[in-house]
Symmetry: C2
Subunit: 456 residues, 2 copies
């Protein structure tokens, strides 16, 4: 019962689809952020659900840890094999299966990325709306209950995954949900696996809910003198029921990072970036009403466009925000952290976080999906400098504790991973965290699935 004997059996099963090459191990030991290199003992490249089941039966019998791997874009080190064992790279399970246009549903393998999926859907009139920025895999997005810029309109992965195929720790295969819009048939197993970060089962297939490509899209950015005016604009827009498809906040530091990285000439003050989806007439009306609110709040530069090239340019800037911020300090790594608070507490939470970071020696732009009350800090550090790592962790801890005290959550979309497990009891209470542990124990009694993550 060792990792070694598991790998011997897995090698017989998978042949050259079990890799132990140093470069492969290192590629699967990296994270997008500041976590140190943590290579697994081997990387498997399964082709089918049945093969994943066979792999888990072996790992279960041999007590070998298993961590699934999608596109490697997670921000909290979710897929790092901190106890060694097997990394299950899902890249070969990236096919689009059953596309049901009338049902607005498609079944895909977990390895497909959201950009590939939308590329394939281009001619169908449909698209998959969840957009976390990074070109993440759908399996990874499901496992972390991801969301992003469009969730204010279309919801998160919780709202856009209709069903799953999951392999349990002992190799049993379960199917949950399906291509229907709703069901009240028993426990919501789909929701249970979403956000479980690979600790309850391995997702091998997903049925996704699709949306109509909007007839018209308008987008714009606008500048504000201060953060409060920008956030007040968001709250007012929500209260007026103006249906935003995206509404993103970037602070002055982020606007500065954009200018330095992308050559834009934004005023270096807080901004909102917005987008409206609908009929020609509806988006024109929405943009007009939003423009009136902006003006009332003293915002400037609001100039909406429905030209695709202008929109693409706008969202390319936003999607490159992480790299633009990283470039503020060449060679730096980032501790990227997010929280989500009730909208009524958003201004306070952002203001106090900004003040905290300003009082620290670290550079840390703030930006976020403010229509959801969700914001991020990108704290730039030399990851070899213990003092800086500790300072970044201190700032992230303060941000999370502030979110809890304001009735919010320690993470709106990045998940728990390695960075936030120590905060679980504080957010959920010991009883609820223990309950998560009971569920984990019921589904994975020997604890081989992504050990050391989420539960007590």
């Amino acid at each position: 019962m060792t990792i070694h004997s598991a790998l011997t059996k897995l090698s017989l099963l998978l042949g050259d689809r079990l890799s132990r090459s140093k470069s492969d191990l290192n590629n699967h030991g990296q994270s997008e952020t500041y976590f140190p290199l943590t290579p697994p003992n081997a990387v498997a490249y399964p082709d089918t659900t049945l093969e994943v089941s066979e792999i888990l039966k072996i790992c279960h019998a041999e007590d070998c840890p298993v961590v699934a791997w999608g596109a490697g874009t997670s921000l909290e080190g979710h897929a790092l094999a901190t106890q060694g064992g097997l990394c299950l790279d899902m890249i070969r399970m990236s096919k689009i299966g059953d596309l049901r246009i009338e049902d607005f549903a498609v079944t895909v393998g977990p390895g497909i990325t959201r950009e590939s999926l939308n590329q394939e859907l281009r001619t169908t009139g449909l698209f998959f709306p969840v957009d976390p920025g990074a070109n993440a895999s759908l399996g990874g997005m499901a496992a972390t209950r991801a969301s992003g810029t469009t969730s204010v309109r279309y919801g998160t992965m919780r709202d856009n995954v209709l069903g799953l195929t999951v392999v349990l720790a002992d190799g049993r295969i379960v199917k949950t949900g399906g291509p229907v819009r709703k069901s009240s048939s028993g426990y919501d197993l789909t929701a249970l696996f979403l956000g479980s970060e690979g600790t309850l089962g391995i997702i091998t297939s997903l049925t996704l809910r699709l949306q109509s490509q909007p007839e018209a899209i308008s987008a714009a950015s606008c500048a504000f003198e201060n953060m409060d005016a920008a956030i007040e604009t968001v709250i007012t827009t929500i209260q007026y029921g103006i249906p935003m498809a995206r509404i993103e906040f970037v602070d002055a530091a982020t606007a500065g990072a954009f200018n330095a990285y992308a050559g834009t000439k934004l005023p270096e003050t807080p901004h909102l970036l917005v987008e409206f989806h609908g009929s020609e007439r509806a988006v024109a009306e929405d943009a007009k009403r939003f423009g009136e609110i902006v003006e009332e709040m003293g915002g400037t530069g609001f100039d909406w466009s429905d030209k695709p090239e202008d929109r693409t340019a706008l969202w390319r800037i936003r999607h490159n925000a992480y790299y633009a911020c990283l470039a503020l300090r060449p060679g730096a790594f980032a501790l990227v952290t997010d929280v989500c608070v009730p909208i009524s507490e958003l201004a306070k939470a952002v203001r106090e976080t900004r003040a905290d970071i300003d009082a620290s020696p670290l550079i840390g732009p703030i930006l976020g999906h403010v229509g959801d009350g969700n914001f991020h800090a990108i704290l730039l550090i030399d990851r070899e400098n213990e003092g800086e790592v500790a300072e970044a962790k201190r700032l992230a801890q303060a941000m999370a504790e502030r979110a809890i005290s304001l009735g919010g959550t320690i993470t709106g979309e990045h998940g728990i991973g390695l960075g936030k497990r120590h905060l679980m009891a504080q957010e959920h209470g010991q009883e609820a965290w223990d309950l998560m542990g009971q569920i984990k124990h019921a589904l994975d009694p020997t604890g081989i699935l992504n050990p050391g993550k989420i539960v007590p």
Copy 2:
């Protein structure tokens, strides 16, 4: 360790809030539909979460079954104490707690009904959108993952419950979620309890997501020559992305029932009843575009109105559909059953169900929330006549099996209760049903919570 000794202890705890009067027991042994009277051994009326926790500690120690009770409007006998024990009537826990207008959120006790809640919210500019027709309690709606006429726009209870307080079988109190729009912090315990029908814990408080009262509403009904034309209209409307707030189908038999019950003069053919929410301009545009589709499909009588009195009349008819159908056969009870199928299979599913019922001696109108692919049959029976009960069950079984074979679910919104547990393995597969059993066992090892429901 008996029900008897549990009740002795509960009586000391609750005084006259533990009732054993015959009328009280009978009131809590009835269901809205055809199930026979099934009184519990006692009815408790708790005041607080802590009191529910004390009650469950006693019942856990004494192995006494516990079934929660809201408004008694469920359709599958969910709250019937088939193994005796304690009925926990939540009516005294009906308060509105924290109302957070800026956050579009409110915390309520489980006993409040949706009409009372919306009455209280009337002056706030907000409302709670989930509308199952019956004036159900919010706790019951959460426990059955209810939905209804507005879910095509606003989602089901799954989408509109942000957080819960739940008392577990052993009396532990857990809090899940909160007044934030999203979170990726650990397992989605809120979703796990929604739809668990009182088998995993007792809901003692809910934080609900509210919506802006729409600036304008337009509504209309229209008649079609046949079912296929009506359903094709729904599919086309969805594909055009016209945002419906409600879209209800009623068949010719239901239209006839309306005429007989409410004195309306509808053509006795299939109808759609629709409603649009938004700005003045948007609802006018939506109604116009919808009207064009209706015309193209040969629909008639489409005449939209934004007058509140016209709308109220329209939806009063729809909400009374159950009683209108019951009145088709004075003295009859109904076996009410629902399924949900992929939209692409909706016409086929409704057509075949209609043919099945037409070939049967029973009267059975069909109606439903067709924007979700969800429809109901109301099968009228003399519940003392075994042959009729068996025939109604046969029709419901065929409807459920057809839904499964078309990729759908055995219930879109009514839940499992007593009527559908025998279909769980067929829908979900034995592995997934077993998994539900494992979760139940982890949370309620002695099985005191609503025993005999949902799990194997």
